[in-house]
């Protein structure tokens, strides 16, 4: 590991990288602060921009958006009692009450400090755990890799919608869409329906612009957002945090960071689960549980450190196994692969300098997030007040420009529009879009490993249950499916009980 640190540092500390980190952090914080705009939408909109960049600045820009998104959501949660992102909901419980007590700046400061700590802790975990997990991943063969893909897809299909069956239908649809274009093993065309442009396949960024961005524009008709007026004059208190409060925050911050990392490593779970779990744990272990919900500094610190501690942890399965921890990092996988960087041990050896530059860059991203948060929070709050009359067409223009710029033709814009309509129909049928995203990202890897494994075994499917790793993954799939079904049944029971009451 140490031999890569020096060259990685040289690659990382360039003006270009620092610039893209800061642009990413600013854009991510602003997007996350605006209720209704998500971090995933932001990453999708700016993914085509990274196609013109090399791996390190491209990843730095996307990681900047991803990490700052964790903090940005808390700005609107604290100021206007509306979480900018779903995972900031737990922060809102104590952040807004503290703001109402005239301590807005203090609440924002606690959120920023805790987010930065969680983010850096997570980045360090990635730096130390990533190469170890990659060594295990290097022992996996094609059959094992297929099982890993099935494991990732099953969990995400299970947790991203109301029903695991509907999630699996979505995942199959995503995997099928990834089959469009040239066969990866024989180079024959598949599902091109006589359209010459489809020989190249469907670009991930174009599909995602339709599935996640344009559909949000169509959904504007369902929810009209009122104008958000963030009173930045509120941020005029001295923001002082007492020594006693720092002491009280230390334990929940550390514990929540550990929880965030553990939750983040598991595919399908994310920042929301981590922040709620940490918030409840901090409340249960606190000496002042009565303060929770009324402006507790521990509550804000626990929720914020957990949701940012997820950021580095989700990259561990992504960079080692190619399994994205959540939807946002799934998109980053394509940014890596477009630069010829494929997940696995080679990423930490052959391309070690680039990989370590990216992992060290994550620490840098968190430091710049801290600096921007310290000096620009008032500006984030002002940008949030952009009326939707202006915001909506701007997002559409970004979508169209992004889709066009991928291959510089209007066919891709049409594809994005078709995917937007498809996503609208899927939404009406209650089918979740995230498994489609995973299917699109993992499609080629899943199919190639499936077919290679069958070629090795002369078509005998028992190869998928023969090795010890295959058996472990099969057991994990069964346990995960059982746990998901149990959870859904519990939810249904609770809903029924609530309805009967």
């Amino acid at each position: 590991m140490l031999q890569y640190i020096a060259p990685a540092t040289g690659l990382l500390f360039t003006l270009e990288n620092i610039l893209w980190i800061n642009i990413g952090v600013f854009v991510g914080a602003v997007f996350a602060a605006i209720p209704g705009l998500s971090v995933i939408l932001c990453v999708i909109l700016f993914l085509p921009v990274t196609y013109t960049m090399t791996a390190i600045p491209g990843m730095m820009f996307l990681l900047g958006i991803y990490c700052a998104g964790g903090y940005g959501g808390s700005v609107s949660a604290i100021l206007i009692n509306t979480p900018g992102t779903p995972h900031a909901a737990a922060t809102m419980l104590d952040g807004h009450p503290l703001s109402q007590q005239g301590r807005t700046k203090a609440a924002l400061k606690i959120a920023l400090y805790a987010s930065t700590f969680g983010g850096i802790f997570s980045a360090l975990m990635l730096l130390f755990l990533g190469p170890q997990v990659a060594k295990v991943a290097a022992q996996l063969g094609t059959a094992e890799y297929f099982m890993v893909c099935v494991f990732g897809l099953t969990i995400i299909a299970g947790v991203s919608g109301k029903s695991i069956i509907r999630g699996l239908v979505s995942a199959c649809l995503g995997l099928l869409i990834s089959c469009v274009g040239t066969d990866p093993m024989t180079s024959y065309d598949r599902f091109t329906f006589g359209i010459p442009r489809l020989y190249l396949g469907l670009d991930l960024a174009v599909c995602l612009i339709g599935l996640f961005a344009l559909v949000e524009i169509l959904a504007k008709v369902e929810k009209k957002r009122g104008d958000l007026h963030m009173d930045t004059r509120k941020i005029k208190d001295d923001g002082k945090i007492t020594r006693q409060e720092y002491k009280r925050m230390a334990r929940p911050v550390l514990m929540s960071s550990i929880i965030g990392v553990l939750v983040g490593i598991i595919p399908g779970t994310g920042a929301s689960e981590a922040s709620w779990f940490s918030y409840n744990t901090a409340k249960n272990l606190s000496k002042h549980p009565e303060e929770f919900g009324h402006g507790s500094v521990e509550g804000i610190a626990a929720a914020e450190s957990a949701n940012n501690a997820v950021t580095g942890a989700t990259l561990i399965p992504l960079l080692t196994l190619g399994i994205p921890g959540d939807g946002t990092v799934a998109i980053m996988l394509s940014a890596l692969m477009i630069n010829g960087l494929n997940p696995g041990l080679s990423l930490f050896t052959t391309d070690g300098d680039i990989m370590y530059a990216i992992m060290l860059g994550l620490i840098l991203v968190n430091l710049f997030m801290f600096l921007q948060g310290k000096f620009l929070t008032s500006l984030f709050a002002k940008v949030v007040s952009i009326p939707q009359e202006i915001l909506t067409p701007i997002i559409v223009i970004f979508c169209f420009a992004g889709a066009y710029s991928v291959n510089e033709n209007y066919f891709d814009v049409a594809v994005a529009l078709v995917f937007g309509v498809l996503a609208w129909v899927l939404r009406k049928l209650d089918l979740p879009p995230v498994p489609i995203l995973l299917g699109l990202v993992l499609g080629r890897m899943t199919e190639t490993n499936f077919r290679r494994a069958l070629l090795i075994s002369n078509g005998d499917p028992s190869i998928f249950v023969q090795s010890i790793y295959c058996k472990i993954f099969l057991a994990l799939i069964i346990v995960a499916v059982a746990a998901i079904i149990r959870g859904k049944l519990k939810e249904q029971k609770a809903a029924k009980a609530a309805a009967s009451q």
Binding site: T186, F400, F450
Partner: protein
């Protein structure tokens, strides 16, 4: 002009009010199950035409899509079976309300998107599509503030310029 716009808005409000009362109820799981079961059947039927294979291939290009469609059909069958069981045992099925007013508004937004795309494609000038798109949404949101028009149109041109001159996208 102002009167004409007010009259148009009043007419649209009246239409919206009428449509607001109308809604469709669909059994969502049953519909999703049937639609995607049929989709999987269609894909399996077109597979021989759409996926060329060679006799030499031990595992050909149809193997994986076929597996996917079989899994999709099984999942759909489970969805449909579950709903039919509920119907037989007279338990409540999963229903979803589709509001016609909402769908009509979505169609208007889709029309703005399609017109913007077509204009950009026909004129081969992205900026034309971007300007029409901005105007379309401002009118859709019934914006009456001239400053909003000025800001949005300026931003539309700025985005085009950023992609054209900074990122060197040729449009």
């Amino acid at each position: 002009m102002k009167q004409w716009v007010d009259r148009l808005y009043a007419r649209m409000d009246a239409l919206g009010e009428r449509l607001g009362e109308k809604q469709l109820r669909i059994p969502v799981d049953l519909t999703a199950g049937i639609v995607f079961f049929l989709f999987a059947v269609v894909i399996l039927l077109v597979m021989p035409n759409q996926v060329v294979v060679s006799d030499k291939d031990a595992v050909d290009g149809r193997a994986f899509p076929t597996l996917l469609m079989v899994v999709m059909m099984l999942c759909c069958a489970m969805l449909v079976g579950k709903e039919l069981y509920k119907l037989a045992t007279k338990r409540p099925m999963n229903w979803k309300d589709i509001h016609l007013q909402t769908e009509l508004k979505a169609l208007v937004i889709l029309a703005i998107l399609v017109v913007s795309y077509l204009l950009a494609r026909v004129t081969d000038l992205f900026v034309v599509g971007a300007l029409v798109c901005s105007l379309g949404f401002l009118v859709y949101f019934r914006c009456r503030k001239p400053s909003y028009y000025a800001i949005t149109l300026t931003l539309a041109v700025a985005i085009w310029a950023a992609f054209r001159f900074v990122l060197n996208v040729d449009f």
